[in-house]
């Protein structure tokens, strides 16, 4: 456990040492601020930060890949993977260390948006329990996003390739699937059974429908299971990739 934490700590400090960490933070804050001022902080509106959380993933799908791209890629490229893998740590510890490190930084990123809750609380009285479930939702969603980033980072020694692949995957989950399912539902107007099924599957795989409940203060096991199984799947795939690299 302490070795895993040592790895995680190095990842977090590594992101704070590099400009990437600060750029990620700045961009995130900029766009959350935009969401906040456009959707939440309106004259006469009720003090509900919900929309800010409901659409948060639209920012994070472009921000998380840059946090996670170097996790393994940079270790491969620099050759440090050799010092890591010849240390007495298991692949699982290595994986968990990287994952927890990236999650730690992710937490710092989403916690930075607390400033907007603070501003909101100066003008009104938001429902703090809803804020809490929203952050829980962001945390669970982050586990999925970070594990996807981690997977692509483990696949290649090129950071940019890792960032682009995870970005494409996250755009599919965050925007594309939902858009397609919306298009299938309304524009076509046909009611073939397999099309309906496809629509449901795509809608289930999309991120936004799962975030809505959290941002409204609802904890639905379906949403929690979605994020956890998704994260578990990609962590497992990353583990397989790590194992298989040994045999090349």
């Amino acid at each position: 456990m302490s070795t895993t934490l040592a790895l995680a700590r190095r990842e977090i400090t590594g992101l704070f040492y590099s400009p990437i960490g600060y750029i990620v933070l700045a961009i995130y804050l900029l766009f959350v601020g935009l969401l906040f001022s456009l959707l939440v902080m309106q004259p006469g509106a009720i003090a509900d930060p919900g929309p800010m959380f409901q659409w948060n993933h639209l920012i994070l799908i472009f921000v998380v890949p840059f946090m996670t791209m170097s996790l393994f890629s940079e270790e491969y490229r620099s050759g440090r993977i050799e010092t890591l893998r010849t240390s007495p740590i298991t692949d699982f510890q290595l994986l968990m260390g990287k994952f927890l490190g990236a999650m730690g930084f992710y937490c710092v990123v989403i916690a930075s948006s607390l400033i907007f809750i603070l501003i909101l609380s100066l003008f009104g009285r938001p429902d703090y329990m809803t804020v809490l479930t929203s952050y829980l939702g962001l945390l669970l969603m982050g586990m999925l996003m970070v594990s996807i980033g981690l997977f692509f980072s483990a696949c290649t020694q090129h950071q940019i390739l890792a960032a682009m692949s995870s970005c494409v995957t996250l755009v599919a989950l965050g925007i594309l699937f939902q858009a397609i399912s919306y298009f299938l539902g309304s524009a076509l107007g046909v009611s073939w059974a397999w099309l309906r099924t496809l629509r449901h599957v795509l809608r289930y795989l999309a991120i936004e429908p799962h975030m809505v409940n959290f941002s409204r203060g609802i904890l639905d096991s379906q949403n929690i299971v979605f994020f956890l199984t998704g994260a578990g799947l990609f962590l497992f795939l990353t583990y397989v990739v790590l194992e298989s690299r040994k045999w090349r």
């Binding site: 010849t86 240390s87 298991t90 045999w247």
Partner: protein, 322 residues
């Protein structure tokens, strides 16, 4: 060998597709010895070392480090091992002490012993005045030393150093060699290099590898002898005052001399001999020269250096011709 072997390699093979990077090699490294692993670039040194350090599994064969199998007891092997990879890859944004602390925690050391060992290894590797420096600001030599300090941190019985002196300036090379020589006895060291003088200076045993196969092994002196016995490399250079023609033909007539070549024939003539040049022969030559009334000014053996031997046995052209 009287000492128990710390590293035992048996029929180790690593294949990349059809290409055999390491081809069925076996060797042993006795406890407390500094052993040089010598070979030209691309001979399979790094591949062998990577298998020994559990970075990649062997295609076939076994390797045991400190009594543990690198495949089945990989974690125990890695616990007993300090490894300096080629080019000493480091986290450039970290500071020296911070990096060592991180490495210590990866190896499950407790805070107290990490602190104590950091002081010890930084002193041992002449890093004490650089402890607070960011690694990105260190020169190549200091980075290499930090890599060695890292390998030594948990005081492992076995050390594997992949080309530890590459990229260092001459004085740093000397210091690093001194450091490695000092480790003998306390640690078992396997040192990979393609620099021959390094091996002659610090190693008690040499393993020469080429094209994935072990070509020779033994102490540097043994290898020199082996080289002399092979004959082709060893030569004897004589400086004799006397008539050049007569000297040459007299020497060539001696039984066992394959070739006598006059290098210079001024008042003092220099002759180079090759063939069977053992002690008895040299005495015989000295006696003959004296008997003829010439003056023997110098007799030295040439070419029986490790370098010649190395070039001979690792050069594919020479091997094909032999």
């Amino acid at each position: 060998m009287s000492q128990p072997a710390e590293i035992v390699v048996e029929q180790l093979t690593k294949a990349y597709g059809k290409f055999l990077a390491v081809d069925n090699i076996s060797f042993a490294v006795p406890k407390g010895m500094v052993v040089g692993f010598l070979g030209p670039n691309g001979a399979g040194k790094t591949t062998t070392i990577r298998m020994l350090t559990c970075f990649m599994p062997p295609t076939s064969g076994t390797a045991r480090v400190g009594g543990f199998d690198v495949f089945h007891d990989s974690l125990k092997v890695r616990n007993n091992l300090g490894y300096l990879p080629e080019n000493a890859p480091l986290y450039l944004e970290m500071r020296v002490a911070e990096y060592l602390q991180f490495r210590g925690r990866l190896r499950g050391m407790d805070r107290g012993s990490i602190k104590k060992r950091i002081d010890e290894v930084t002193e041992l590797c002449w890093l004490t005045d650089r402890k607070r420096w960011p690694i990105s600001k260190l020169s190549k030599g200091y980075r290499q030393r930090l890599g060695i300090a890292d390998a030594l941190l948990h005081n492992p019985p076995v050390l594997v150093l992949d080309e530890p002196t590459v990229g260092l300036d001459p004085s740093q090379i000397r210091e690093t060699r001194k450091l490695i020589a000092n480790l003998a006895g306390l640690h078992t060291v396997l040192l990979s290099t393609h620099i021959l003088s390094e091996v002659e200076l610090v190693c008690q045993k040499v393993i020469i590898i080429g094209r994935g196969k072990i070509l020779a092994q033994g102490s540097p002196d043994e290898l020199k002898q082996q080289c002399a016995q092979r004959g082709s490399g060893a030569r004897l250079v004589l400086e004799i005052r006397g008539p050049a023609d007569q000297i040459r033909s007299a020497l060539a007539a001696l039984p066992g001399i394959e070739q006598a070549r006059t290098i210079s024939d001024n008042a003092v003539c220099t002759v180079e001999l090759s063939g069977k040049l053992d002690g008895a022969m040299r005495e015989q030559i000295a006696a003959m020269v004296q008997q003829r009334g010439w003056a023997l000014r110098e007799m030295r053996s040439a070419g029986a250096s490790l370098e010649e031997f190395f070039v001979q046995i690792t050069d594919p052209g020479a091997a094909a011709a032999a």
